[in-house]
Symmetry: C2
Subunit: 220 residues, 2 copies
């Protein structure tokens, strides 16, 4: 599907600051598919690259899948406040370096994050104005159960853990700007694209607006 070129039109006249787009949802609400298609189809939207201490797997590319760093480097960066958010997952550390993201935003690019409520809270604490958060809910409990139970080879223990995590995630919906019920993946993607168009038109994000308006007024 061709990438959406429309985002450039208004910025031929005035520039704009990018934003951090966070999609969160309980496991199984369809977030991964939605994120993948948004990156493919939306011009100006880029996936955030995390730093991690876990070893690189065959096929993974440094700087593209992750920034692979040593434990010591990771903690040095963390202590220096260089991360927007960080988390500990299965004995390894993951984090979002702030500098590449802030550079992207100042160049008018939007960055997509696939993180949970804890990462979202950390980003909100550091840079609330740059954050656009969307919580994706399944349309029904039946749908959620179906997706959570879908991987037939998992043990009852793994399934129970996943359901508990889903319940925990759902309880944090109040911390998000937008709530989307994912009944239909094409509509969900269309809705998020609309959210992006709208957020790109927010007055606070326009750059050079003061000069443009001054020029208009001077001519009148």
């Amino acid at each position: 599907m061709a990438k959406n070129e429309d985002s450039k039109m208004q910025s031929n006249i005035i520039g704009r600051r990018g934003f951090m787009l966070v999609l969160s949802s309980p496991s199984g609400a369809g977030k991964t598919t939605i994120a993948r298609r948004l990156i493919e189809e939306e011009n100006g939207l880029y996936m955030s690259v995390s730093a991690t201490t876990r070893p690189r797997r065959p096929g993974e590319v440094e700087g593209k899948d992750y920034y692979f760093v040593e434990d010591e480097t990771f903690h040095l960066m963390a202590n220096r406040g260089e991360f927007l958010e960080h988390a500990n997952v299965f004995d390894h550390y993951y984090a979002t370096p702030a500098v590449p993201v802030m550079n992207a935003l100042s160049e008018g690019r939007d960055i997509l994050f696939d993180i949970d409520w804890q990462g979202t809270q950390q980003i909100a604490d550091k840079s609330r104005d740059d954050l656009v958060s969307v919580f994706i809910l399944p349309p029904s409990t039946q749908d959620l159960e179906k997706r959570l139970l879908n991987r037939a080879q998992d043990s009852a223990e793994v399934v129970a853990k996943r359901m508990s995590k889903a319940a925990d995630e759902i309880s944090h919906y109040r911390e998000y700007d937008y709530i989307l019920v994912n009944e239909n993946v094409d509509k969900a993607i269309s809705d998020i694209k609309a959210i992006m168009v709208a957020e790109r038109l927010k007055r606070d994000r326009q750059v050079g607006l003061t000069d443009f308006v001054k020029e208009l007024r001077d001519q009148i």
Copy 2:
């Protein structure tokens, strides 16, 4: 053009509160055309009906074009705080009665206002959370001049007055949520429709969300 039915989908599961959509712009930026097409094409969006003390003109319908009221009734209503905003234009009074608008919002309908910055400020003072404001700018000074000078039979005095009003309007752009540069009317309309989709998905406007989430969690 067929009306957009999509706004119903998420609200089959959870309801939503409507919002007041205000479009403002300097005269000649294309706002009237845009407003007319939005009403025609957008399901769930309705034009606000003002109360006025000016006499009804042939062809105008009570309750559709305006609520036509006596001077005394108008001032009674104003003093009782029944208006969201009011203005004095060429020796007559105009105002938006609050009750029909608030009823519409609680029924999930969105109301479109074609008012200037003064009316917008009054509405913001009374009900900021229900307000979604869009300022439409012309793409260039040449375009603005062309539109302002378009009515060949106007006197130089009328033209000067209109230009002065345009400059005044433009100086209030900082009071608006969204800024739209009207380069192309179809794109401007498409952008405002996106703003509407986004604002309808704002978490604060969802009704029954707490119950829906509780139901999801109870089942997990």
